[in-house]
Every structure is written in C-alpha cells, then in structure tokens.
Symmetry: C2
Subunit: 211 residues, 2 copies
C-alpha cells in the first residue's frame, strides 16, 4: 500500500484530486494544504510519496536549502517506507521551465503536467515510490529549456525586486549595490531575455516561471 | 437529472473534478476543454449548466458581446432543460475581483471559490439550474471590490498593452493616441492604483485580475 500525502492549497481541487486517486486500491491518500504540512512546527507526516501542486503559494519560495527539502526530499520530517525519505511528485503547468527547475532543485523525482491523463499521474506516483524518476512527455521540452535559463542568481534577485514594483534606488539599497550597477543588471536582463524593455523582461521571465 | 458540462483546460484537473461530481446521483457530467466547446463551429452541447474554471485561457477574453455568452448564458448554442439557456457556474480564485467582474458580465449566476468545500460547488450547480444565483462566502468581499475598479476602459487598454511589454510609442500608435496622451494615461493609472511606478501598477492590476 502506498501512503500518499497530497498537498494542494485549493480545497476544492484537493478534494477532486483525492477523489480521483481514491479509487486506486494500492494508494491511500491523505490531503493537506501547504501551510498545514510544510512549516517546521507542522506535525510530521508519514508518507511514501508527496504529490505537490507547483501553484501552492509556498512552492515558489522552495529552495534546496529549505529545511523542508534538505536531505533529498520534502518528507524528511516524516518516516518513509523502509526508512527512506518520501519521493516528491510535482504537478506542474507546461511552458514554465522555471518551476520545473525549482522542483528539480527541491529534490522532486516525478514531474506530471496538469494536462496529463490520470494514468500518467498514477505511473509517476508508483515510479517515485520505487525510487525511479518520472517525467511526463508534455514537460520534456520544458526540461530542456530549464537548462538554458539565461540569468545569473544576482540578476534574478534584481529582477524579482523590480517585478514587485521596487524602483532602482530601492533595489540598490536592498541589495547593497550602487544605482548604476542595478541599471547595468537591468540592461543585461533585458538583453539576455530578448525583451523590449524592463516591463517586457518581467513579463517574459514571469511567464517562464523564473521569478 | 442535471446535465452538467464541465469546462477546464487541464485534463488532469478536469478528470479530478469530474470524478468528484460523478458520485452525485442527480448530476450527469460531460467534460471538455474550452477549445472543444466554445468556438462558434464547435458542436452544440445540450446541458442544464456549465461549470467553467476562470483559469481557462479563453476565459480572460470573454465579454458580454461574445457570441458564446450573448443571450444571457454561455450555453445558447445548446438547448437547456425546458428551452432555457444553461446556467453558468464559474470556479474562481479569491483575491482577483477582475475575474469575477468578467464572469458576471458574461452572465454567470454561480460563483464558487477554488478553496470551497465540495458541498458549495454542488449547491451552486443545483441553485443555478433552478434559476437562482449563488455566491460562495469566500468571494463575497471580492464581489464588493469588483464594483470599485478604478480604471476606465481606455486606461485598461493602455495598461494591457503596457503589460505586454509595449513601449509608449507603440501603445500610442496602436491606440491612435499622441505619446503625451499615453503618458498621461499611464500617470493616471499609477495614481489611481496607488502604485509606485508603471511596473507596480501592472503588478497590482494583474494580481486583481483587471488585465
């Protein structure tokens, strides 16, 4: 029996996914929102696999250094079958390679697009529990794009602040940079993303899921 | 028996929602993507109600003048029970009043948040088929905000083009305006949205679902 923890922030969609999975005889589903299971003080969950929607608000903030994922999988706080950390399966939209990159960094083994057939999701869950990787065909191209992210971490920092509406002096102050340096970073970002201007660079990067 | 047409662009979530609804004895579910049911040349669907996710790519483009919604409901092309147009129930995220405004304009009668309990969704479907309105509690505040959209249609046009990355001269050319006029519109947009600059105005308006 596979113990699956389904993490989704929208209750209705979480119930719907749980009801889709509930008919499988070899999968036992527990469901929760990100906020209920991820903070360090949340109760530990005993699961063989986690299924997480990348649209969860907290997902965007996930990094390899996050205590939740450190140790190779989100589930280090629970006990997986056979003492192994639970495998992480993510449910991702297509066309946003930045999200896949983040999920990969967070130790995900299974990658399923939201447009997939339910059978793909089941394959992914079963593969990951066996310790194998699984990438849905529809995401394969995004995976390739994810290795071609043109921006440096520093440029991403600058872009994230700009995307939140911070003007150049504020970005400079928050990152301990000179204003001219911030402008140079922004110019590099516009050039590298092939954008027409700053707004366009933010739009392109956001739609790819980089910021 | 209620014949429900479930419209969602993501196959996996569509199957999940269908499986949630399939256990109800009084609801018969047909499911399709937006592209399959909305274009004028798509086959007509016979349904008592439509359930549409506002995240469908085509939803953002929906207006009251759209042939799909003209006549008071998306389903004028099919035949509803008793010759009435099918009722429209939308599944919407909270915090994006612009989407609700669009759904309202498109003739929606039922409004259910994605965080709702499944029972709310069922209530909404049954109410709408009886010809009553239904608004989920979680969306009530957004409804109030939706009546306070500060921008004029012209300002929204300017903002949409700016949000796509168009520079001022291009916006001016496409809307047959002087560049100074476009700049005045952008200044008004920034002031009315309480933004710090143009990027911030786009962020605020996008997050509210106005553009």
């Amino acid at each position: 029996m596979i113990r699956l923890l389904l993490v989704h922030d929208d209750n209705l969609l979480r119930c719907a996914l749980a009801s889709l999975l509930a008919v499988e005889r070899d999968i036992e589903v527990a469901a929760a929102s990100w906020r209920e299971v991820v903070p360090p003080d949340a109760p530990a969950h005993s699961a063989d696999a986690w299924l997480v929607d990348t649209d969860c608000a907290g997902f965007a903030a996930l990094t390899a250094e996050d205590p939740v994922v450190a140790g190779g999988g989100v589930g280090h706080r629970g006990e997986g079958g056979g003492g192994r950390a639970p495998g992480l399966v993510v449910l991702a939209p297509t066309g946003r390679p930045g999200l896949l990159h983040r999920a990969f960094t967070a130790g995900a083994l299974g990658f399923v697009s939201k447009g997939a057939r339910p059978a793909c999701l089941l394959d992914a869950i079963r593969s990951v529990v066996r310790g194998s990787r699984y990438v849905d065909d529809a995401l394969a191209f995004d995976f390739f794009s994810a290795t071609h992210m043109p921006l440096t971490p520093r440029e991403l920092n600058v872009l994230s602040l700009a995307a939140d509406g911070a003007p150049v002096p504020e970005i400079a102050e928050r990152l301990w940079l000179a204003e001219g340096t911030v402008r140079n970073y922004l110019a590099a970002i516009i050039r590298k993303t092939g954008a027409r201007n700053r707004v366009d660079a933010i739009r392109i990067s956001r739609s790819a899921g980089w910021v």
